[in-house]
């Protein structure tokens, strides 16, 4: 089959690999119809996630048709149309049973490596380094889906591929970012990053009853999406001071909750600040550029929530712990426990409360995946989300 493989920093290729086969009794093989490139794939593309190997198949946002199931999979049958959550979760460990699917205790066969870096291992993730399991990803013609009796959600015919594929990661991740804010009526929520996750976080904050949503980014076309599709207020951090503007918009209180939907490859309006962290990151003295996180902490209302759904992999410097501690802030975070959200969010799509396809900017065949990565990386042609059809 054809599959998109990581070939080194800033290099992906569509290569020929063997077709996947059932390896565990709870596996299913899915013939992929639509798959997407995630912002976090760019972290892999840029070489910021450790333990990648040349030839690793990328992709953790995909959907398609079940073509084969293992003997222990009784809820699916060949022909079913499914979307597959990006965290691989067994459904039976204590974490899964408490709904914390992205920290499944069994799905990372390379847990030993992850423990050395993170203390304990999170779940395995499709196509997301050997640190997180060494699983082949879904930017391919077929994928093997472990624990198919737990993860995949059947998609009804009235929901299109470009809507359903958002349930694999981007929409639930943004939704969880908003849910962690514990929004109550009248609240103002600020979101750093107007990529797909940030836009879904902003849209979900609205769905969950936020009074006002403020989105911060530097790409005017993305801020426009936030204004037009979500009714958010926006700040372009290259044109305005973010902290001043947020204080002004909230009459000095600060946002009630701040969502970091940027993660480890942030940018900063101040060239010197950007250079400081960029140099340290290049020298591997720190692994992240946590501008959004620092700013979110400083901006947040005292006693408010800082919700982190942007991806981090290692260590950050200059964490404003003083502000965090003295102002009674709360941080909530995690890779999204997608399995918990797929069904309720599918229902919201079916009820017409949201059409998640509004973020899709590019559609191309799988064979053009390298071009898709390049366009997304360079933010060319107003790129927000690239879908690959198979």
């Amino acid at each position: 089959m054809k599959a998109t493989a990581w070939m080194g920093t800033d290099s992906v290729k569509v290569i020929d690999v063997p077709d996947p086969k059932i390896m565990n009794a709870r596996d299913a093989i899915v013939k992929i119809s639509t798959t997407a490139i995630c912002g976090s794939d760019l972290h892999l593309y840029h070489g910021y996630i450790p333990a990648m190997r040349k030839g690793d198949i990328l992709g953790h946002e995909f959907m398609g048709e079940v073509v084969e199931v293992g003997p222990q999979v009784r809820n699916l049958k060949p022909g079913d149309r499914v979307v597959v959550p990006f965290p691989i979760a067994c459904g039976h460990c204590s974490s899964c049973q408490r709904g914390l699917y992205s920290v499944c205790e069994n799905s990372n066969p390379n847990a030993g490596i992850a423990e050395k870096i993170m203390g304990h291992s999170p779940a395995g993730i499709f196509g997301y380094s050997h640190l997180l399991g060494g699983y082949a990803g879904g930017q391919a013609e077929y994928a093997r889906v472990p624990f198919a009796d737990v993860g995949p959600l059947k998609v009804p015919d009235d929901v299109r591929d470009d809507q359903a594929v958002m349930l694999a990661d981007a929409f639930p991740t943004g939704y969880m970012g908003a849910e962690m804010c514990d929004i109550t009526p009248g609240q103002v929520i600020a979101v750093w990053g107007a990529g797909p996750v940030g836009l879904f976080a902003a849209a979900s904050a609205r769905l969950l009853g936020a009074e006002r949503v403020i989105v911060i980014d530097r790409y005017p076309y993305r801020l426009r999406l936030a204004e037009e599709h979500i009714g958010a207020e926006t700040i372009n951090y290259e044109e305005a001071d973010v902290l001043d503007t947020l204080n002004e918009l909230t009459a000095g209180r600060g946002p009630d909750a701040c969502i970091d939907a940027v993660g480890l490859e942030g940018h900063h309006g101040n060239a010197a600040m950007y250079a400081y962290d960029r140099v340290k990151q290049a020298a591997r003295v720190e692994t992240e550029r946590p501008f959004a996180l620092r700013q979110a902490i400083l901006a947040c209302r005292s006693g408010g929530v800082v919700s982190v759904v942007g991806a981090y992999g290692g260590f950050v410097d200059k964490f404003p712990m003083g502000a965090f501690m003295n102002r009674s802030l709360i941080m909530r975070t995690g890779q999204c426990h997608v399995q918990r959200y797929t069904r309720p969010l599918l229902e919201r799509i079916q009820r017409g409360e949201i059409d998640p396809s509004f973020i899709v900017s590019h559609r191309m065949p799988l064979r053009d995946a390298p071009k898709g990565y390049k366009i997304f990386q360079k933010k060319q042609d107003d790129c927000t989300k690239v879908l690959l059809s198979v």
Partner: protein, 316 residues
């Protein structure tokens, strides 16, 4: 519950009774006291009562023997003290040899008898010292591991799975097979690199249903080993804390090197991986596999990942 080390030690000590050092110690004590309290009669008995030097040397020998006695009976470094007895025997034999050369008649006969007796004691001392040293080296080689994992299953379920010893190779990857011969005895075959196989028989020596299982290898195996697994209810209704203690003594020499390879450079990490697989099998039904780690969790595999691509048909 006995300490797991003592489960294994009788076999390590092999044919040496645990009482050997103290028996030698009592012998030293008797000789030492005799030489100090009654040097005259002792000198007569040994046929050296005609020598002024012997009357001064005998109390010194007595002091030396008391030193050995204290060391052997004190129980610390018994091997060293056993060898000190051998050294004392050598000294005594040298002195007796000289005494034999310049004596005749009844005294010469007594000196010869004493020499014979001391030579006999020396032989026993050498044998004992060798055995005690060997046991000490075996104890020093003993590898001790204590590893635990929390499994989201009841103690009874975890116990039941482990108690069927034939299940062990499902999560202990270095085992090729375990065959239960009866309820207590089993035959284990471990798989090493380059076709090396290590086999042994084991028996369950303590079985507390739903609580703990203790086993050890039978006498005569090349790799004496023992283990205990305890199943403790995890606090907060979170299943079972499975706590494993393992002891094994890799033999010296080529077999030892093969066993060392079997367990790799981080034997404890291997056991930790075994327990992770145990958790996977109990919670999910089988060992979880990925394209990068097609054989599931293993330290060795984590270091040598294949690309995250489906396996070629030849490797399935």
């Amino acid at each position: 519950m006995t300490r797991i080390d003592t489960v294994l030690l009788p076999e390590l000590d092999g044919p040496v009774p645990a009482t050997l050092p103290s028996t030698l110690g009592l012998l030293s004590l008797a000789l030492g006291v005799g030489a100090l309290v009654a040097p005259g009669p002792l000198a007569r008995l040994a046929g050296v009562d005609d020598s002024a030097a012997a009357r001064t040397v005998l109390p010194a020998i007595g002091v030396r023997e008391l030193g050995s006695a204290a060391g052997l009976l004190g129980g610390r470094r018994p091997a060293g003290w056993a060898w000190s007895r051998v050294a004392g025997d050598a000294m005594d034999l040298t002195l007796l040899g000289r005494a034999l050369a310049d004596r005749g008649g009844e005294r010469r006969r007594r000196v010869a008898l004493t020499t014979l007796a001391i030579a006999g004691i020396a032989a026993v001392d050498v044998l004992s010292a060798v055995r005690i040293s060997r046991a000490r080296r075996a104890r020093a080689r003993m590898i001790r591991m204590e590893v635990a994992v929390t499994v989201n299953r009841s103690p009874a379920e975890a116990y039941r799975f482990w108690r069927d010893m034939e299940n062990l190779p499902r999560f202990m990857t270095h085992l090729e097979s375990v065959r239960a011969d009866d309820l207590r005895r089993s035959h284990w075959i471990a798989r090493g690199p380059a076709g090396h196989r290590v086999e042994w028989d084991a028996e369950i020596i303590d079985d507390q249903p739903n609580t703990s299982i203790t086993w050890r290898s039978l006498a005569g195996t090349g790799v004496p080993n023992a283990g205990r697994v305890r199943f403790v209810p995890a606090p907060g209704d979170r299943g079972t804390e499975v706590r494993v203690e393992l002891r094994y003594v890799p033999p010296a020499g080529a077999l030892g090197r093969a066993v060392a390879k079997l367990f790799g450079e981080e034997p404890e990490q291997q056991v930790r991986d075994d327990l992770r697989r145990f958790k996977q099998v109990l919670e999910t039904g089988e060992v979880v596999r990925s394209e990068g780690s097609p054989n599931g969790i293993s330290v060795r595999q984590q270091a040598m990942q294949r690309p995250a691509q489906p396996l070629p048909p030849s490797r399935r």
